[in-house]
């Protein structure tokens, strides 16, 4: 410990700055595991089940109305849904708030083209072990989780595009 303390402060701060600058997004491919099935009510009252989408590529996006990057990402996901839905692709938005009032208000102001489900009890968030906001999971036509994105930073949509096209072609 003493050795560490004797390292000059400016060196340590430089090292810390380097590490911060080198850090990047945690966006990983994941081992093929089956995406947990769930049934949730959507904002327009219908019950939607994930297994009903078997055969299609699904992009599941966990979001909350109080989360800035989530709001930033929504129009991009809406465009993505519009663009590829005819090729067997769908975006499923899952709002994780206990009280859906703010989410409904946001969707009223900024409507999206994809179904939005309400996870009021956080059961699906727990099933998918959501540790970041927003979180995006890409599920292939066989119902397996293939890509996971934690968080959203502008430019991530390039990766979404690439991965969605790849999964559609399978």
């Amino acid at each position: 410990m003493n050795e560490i303390l004797r390292i000059p402060l400016h060196t340590m701060i430089t090292a810390l700055a380097v590490i911060i600058l080198l850090s990047n997004d945690v966006s990983a491919g994941i081992e093929q595991t089956s995406a947990p099935d769930f049934t949730l009510k959507s904002v327009d009252g219908r019950n939607l089940r994930l297994s009903e989408y078997r055969g299609e590529v699904v992009l599941i996006n966990f979001w909350a109305s109080w989360c800035g990057p989530c709001r930033q990402e929504m129009p991009i996901l809406s465009d993505l849904h519009e663009r590829y839905k005819s090729l067997g692709f769908t975006v499923l938005g899952i709002n994780v708030e206990e009280d859906s009032t703010d989410a409904r208000r946001l969707l009223g102001k900024m409507p999206v083209s994809f179904p939005v489900l309400l996870d009021n009890t956080s059961s699906v968030s727990k099933q998918y072990d959501v540790v970041a906001m927003p979180s995006t999971v890409l599920v292939d036509r066989n119902g397996n989780m293939r890509y996971l994105h934690k968080g959203y930073k502008p430019g991530l949509e390039e990766q979404y595009l690439r991965q969605v096209r790849e999964l559609i072609r399978e």
């Binding site: 560490i4 303390l5 402060l9 340590m12 701060i13 090292a15 810390l16 590490i19 911060i20 600058l21 850090s23 990047n24 997004d25 945690v26 800035g68 990057p69 208000r105 009223g108 102001k109 540790v131 970041a132 934690k150 968080g151 959203y152 930073k153 502008p154």
Partner: protein, 390 residues
């Protein structure tokens, strides 16, 4: 640098060093931080108390440029009209003055941290202040913890309206360390440490001290105040805020302060925030402050040149103050229009009661020197402001 202040600076560096070690040894999950939302605020402030009136605007603009950079600018003015006890007892008449302050800042977000740079300049007839600061803020542990480090360098010029040849400098350094920790889904705690060192002409060129002088009509005479040319201070604050299930919160804060002039101060602040349907927010607050005197302070020195350092500034005397205040805010744009996400108008009032334990009201000249009543006064502080998020 003198020996005593150097010890405090070494301590601050050691604390910073320890924190950097902690940061290097733990995981830095690489997730993006978030720049604050764009906003513009226009505030009108008014202070009225102790025969001093100060009013003026404060305008702030914060705007993101691109995705990773945010710029901010602030324009602030104090229009001062003062016939305070200090002014009146020094034989001067009521004076008016304007102090203008301009700041500009830039925030750069990378990964899970935000780096900030800012510059502030304040200008009045007889005083010019400059401060340049640098800060880093990092979110860690799944954004449960935020650590911030800051350093600021200041350089001021002190002038004298009655003597155009007078010009002295002050150099200042601030070292800041902050830690914000989410303890539960309803509880957040924050710890702040700050060390400040000043060097230069630290007193007021117009102010005097008084000493017993049997030969004079009043029983006392005046001489210019003499301050040490250095000062190092340390402040440590802990604050917490707790969410109440009906969209309200309660918060508490305690700050400890001490410095090389032997001043020790404590203050506590309690606040309760309550929201009402329709976009209303109410806050009620209470603050208590107490401090001991600087070791070179005296309301009445026994004779001329009684000490190397002499001060009679009530700011350095033993006193306490109580503040009660409230704020009412109304969100007039709740659902957001095309250009504006949210807007609120706010009215805030604080009533501060100052009580001096060793500073006498010498406007009262009918009594023996040293038996004048102790001074106290109250201030009314009003703020009216408009905030827009876009």
């Amino acid at each position: 640098m003198p020996v005593a202040p150097k010890a405090a600076v070494v301590a601050a560096v050691a604390v910073t060093r320890a924190l950097v070690v902690v940061l290097l040894c733990v995981c830095l999950p690489s997730r993006a931080g978030v720049l604050p939302d764009d906003r513009a605020d226009a505030l009108y402030h008014s202070y009225d108390g102790g025969d001093v009136e100060i009013t003026g605007p404060s305008v702030l603009i914060l705007k993101k440029i691109g995705q990773n950079v945010a710029l901010s600018g602030n324009y602030y003015v104090d229009s001062i009209s003062s016939a305070s006890i200090d002014v009146v007892t020094s034989g001067a008449s009521k004076y008016s003055e304007d102090r203008t302050e301009l700041s500009a800042g830039v925030d750069y977000m990378h990964g899970n941290s935000i780096m900030s740079l800012s510059y502030t300049n304040s200008d009045e007839d007889d005083y010019e202040g400059n401060t340049a600061s640098f800060g880093v803020k990092m979110d860690m542990f799944g954004n449960m913890t935020t650590v911030s480090l800051g350093y600021a360098y200041g350089w001021d010029t002190v002038k004298n309206n009655t003597d155009s040849t007078f010009s002295e400098d002050i150099d200042r350094q601030n070292y800041r360390l902050g830690l914000s920790q989410v303890l539960s889904k309803d509880l957040v705690m924050e710890l702040d440490l700050e060390t400040i060192t000043d060097e230069g002409f630290l007193n007021n060129p117009y102010r005097s001290v008084r000493y017993l002088d049997p030969g004079s009509a009043l029983g006392y005479s005046f001489q210019s105040e003499v301050y040490p040319s250095t000062r190092t201070s340390n402040a440590a604050a802990i604050r917490s805020i707790y969410y109440l299930p009906y969209r309200a919160s309660v918060s508490a804060e305690y700050r400890f302060f001490d410095d090389t002039w032997d001043i020790t101060a404590h203050n506590i602040k309690l606040a309760y925030v309550h929201t009402l349907p329709g976009g209303w927010l109410l806050e009620g607050r209470y603050r208590y402050y107490t401090q001991t005197a600087a070791d070179f302070y005296s309301d009445l020195f026994p004779f001329r040149d009684a000490q190397n350092f002499l001060a009679r500034d009530k700011e350095l005397s033993k006193f306490h103050s109580n503040t009660v205040g409230a704020t009412v805010s109304y969100d007039f744009i709740e659902n957001g229009s095309k250009y504006i996400d949210r807007g609120s108008i706010n009215l805030s009032y604080d009533h501060i009661m100052f009580d001096y334990d060793d500073f006498r009201d010498i406007r009262n000249t009918a009594v023996t020197a040293g038996t004048e009543p102790l001074y106290d006064f109250t201030s009314d502080v009003v703020q009216v402001f408009l905030s827009i998020w876009f």
